[in-house]
């Protein structure tokens, strides 16, 4: 069975693009529309990795990462953030919150898979 990855994004097109890319590479994919949704779903069924957007309604990505890192099940799983801001500040904020890495939007499927491979193996 393939590893399970959750994609969190309020944009359905990004979720679709990430989802198709990951499924094509043999991963199982679950989707969430914002941080709150992701947290609820993850508490019910853990995954091997999370790819999350940063700016989302209800709960943003940084808060999600912080919440997840506080849960024993998610303390050490890879969490990658999608960010449009290539600025170091935003990345740093995410890193301090506990993110494993980042992907700067816009990105192409191969770049996404490269990062997934890097942090998930």
């Amino acid at each position: 069975m393939g590893k399970k990855i959750m994609t969190v994004d309020d944009s359905s097109s990004v979720r679709q693009m990430v989802g198709l890319t990951l499924k094509g590479a043999g991963y199982d994919v679950v989707e969430a529309v914002d941080g709150q949704d992701a947290l609820t779903k993850l508490k019910a069924a853990p995954v091997d990795m999370v790819v999350t957007d940063l700016n989302m309604p209800n709960m943003d990505g940084i808060t999600l990462i912080k919440e997840l890192r506080a849960l024993p099940n998610f303390k050490f799983i890879p969490i990658v953030m999608l960010t449009t801001e290539s600025q170091a500040g935003r990345k740093q904020e995410g890193k301090s919150a506990g993110a494993t890495g980042w992907i700067v939007k816009p990105f192409k499927p191969p770049q996404l898979l490269e990062v997934i491979k890097k942090v998930l193996g």
């Binding site: 050490f76 890879p78 290539s86 600025q87 890495g101 939007k105 942090v119 193996g121």
Partner: protein, 702 residues
Amino acid sequence: MEIDTSAFTEEAYELLSELEASLLELEESPGDQDLIGRVFRAMHTIKGSGAMFGFDEVAEFTHEVETVFDMARNKTILVTKPLIDLTLAARDQIRAILDAAAGGEPADKENAQRIIQGLRALLPGAGGAPAAGAAPTSKKPPAQASEDEPHVYRIRIKPSPDIFANGTNPLLLLSELRDLGEECQVIAQYDKLPPLENLDPETCYTSWEVFLTTQKSENAIRDVFIFVDDQCELNIRLLDREEVLGTDVQKIGNILVQRGDIPEEVLEQALKPIGDRLVEAGAVSPSQVKAALAEQNAIKSKRDKKVQAESAASVRVPSEKLDGLVDLVGELVTVQARLNQTASNRQDHDLQLIAEEVERLTGELRDNTMSIRMLAIGTTFNKFKRLVRDLSTELGKKIELTTEGAETELDKTVIDQLNDPLVHIIRNSIDHGIETPDIRIKNGKNPEGLIHLSAIHSGASVLIRVEDDGKGLDPEFLTRKAIEKGQIPPDSQLTDKEAFQLIFGAGFSTAEKITNVSGRGVGMDVVRKSIDALRGSIDVTSVLGKGTVITLKLPLTLAIIEGLLVQVADELFVLPLAAVEECVELSRRDISNAHGRHVINVRDEIVPYIRIRDRFEIGGTPPDIEQIVISDVEGKRTGFVVDSVIGQHQTVIKSLGSNFEHSEEFSGATILGDGTVALILDLSKMVRYVEAEEDLSEPAAA
């Protein structure tokens, strides 16, 4: 989605100037693999980040150039003048493309094609014809271009103990490294691992040393650690560098010291017995052993220093931020002067102590802030290498440019505004100064002309000198020309120094014919204006047939001026101290001796003077004995008459604002400790003003 490309363009411009400097150096030592590597890396970085930031045209073009230069790196082709010429042209083309992207004129695509075809013609087997399919036009992945023979790297990875908290699995990084190369040996360092009962499973105790043989660059290795660069001590060292392979394989003791595994002292201790034994065996003397150890130490510390210097940290800050800081410090200095004055007026001992402390700190803060804005003039000097090279080729002259004092520091604003005047001066030297090789040989000179560019500190000024060993200036010829053009009266008798100053007249040109380079009579007057604007001065000395020296004297900074504070009635003025030569008294008798002329005899030299009281129509009666501040204005001694000289005063210059922008006699204002405003006089403009008025009122004056 918008990507911020300014970071890329900024970096690219910097890389381009580095590229240019390296190419010019390479021209002098074509075999230098280090330089070839530098050129290659600069292009490689431009290409890589260009592609990433959407500058496809830059990436594609640079790729072509890089491909050819890669051959030079692999020694498939030699570094020749045509190669350097074309690469320089390519560098300019890349710049043009970048400029175009920034809203400049579109880059000439045909020129790009010409450069590429020229480069391809240099490839082996090209035979001058555009090599069909020799270099595919489609983009290759960057990694492929950097392929050459594999290198051995030592990579030390020391993750921070909390690295797991970010979900990072260091083993994945290791396997990624392993995928980079054909040979990879990983040695785990687990000496920090505590006993099991103390072990915290959430902490990373292990570090690794990886010996990787790969064709990839160091950057590719660093890329593996992109997500953890702040959580990981990373040390990458190329083990099979030329200089290492060239010598014998190092002794294990040396390697241990270099790796930092044992301190030098321990090695010394361990080595000593060998030396001692050799001494005992009579093979060497104790001093020989000592010398050998010293030699080893010397080389090692030199190399360590070099490595340290290369990795020296620096911070890049936009210059507006620095300007803001300088402004604020200027305000602070002004307020501090008021604090001092208030404190001393109050005669409050405690307040005075505080004021003194604040004064000391403000002074240090001011000096520090100024030093931040200081840049070495070297980068400006380097630009001229290209100028000299291109112009001399164009004019069929052979000229060598030597520089000295590239490390001399000047305020960034001064450096920025110095470029154009220096370009003019150097152009003039090349065009008018240095003779063609055949004339030089005929005159018994080295056929290769010499231009020497130097910068040195001299007090609060920097002297920048442009020397050439050309034909020099002919004072008689200059005088004749000026008379012909009606710029000076026909019967003028000028000293050599005065004659040399003629070249700064507007529209003055001695060139027999106008060339592309110079001779249109614009130039030296513009140079003088720019240097005036920088509150600097120009001095010309020349020996006919031997050469010319042009010296620019510039203030270290534009934000602060060392001034002489003077008083006329209730008005205060500041004269730039750099121009002041001496102060002498002007008595009623001196005035009557001069029979109404504004001149004074100072030690048998007649010095004209300007009465500031009259000039600015300040009322009141002057004191019986006035003071003349004698200043050097454009090589002429000129006096300025004031009531009294108060003293030296270091002031922060405030610009006068747009309301007063036409008040040419003042270069700015400053605020004194008690809040009074003092105007800063622009001496050379004042002199010119007065001269112009006198010319109008008495046209016959000689």
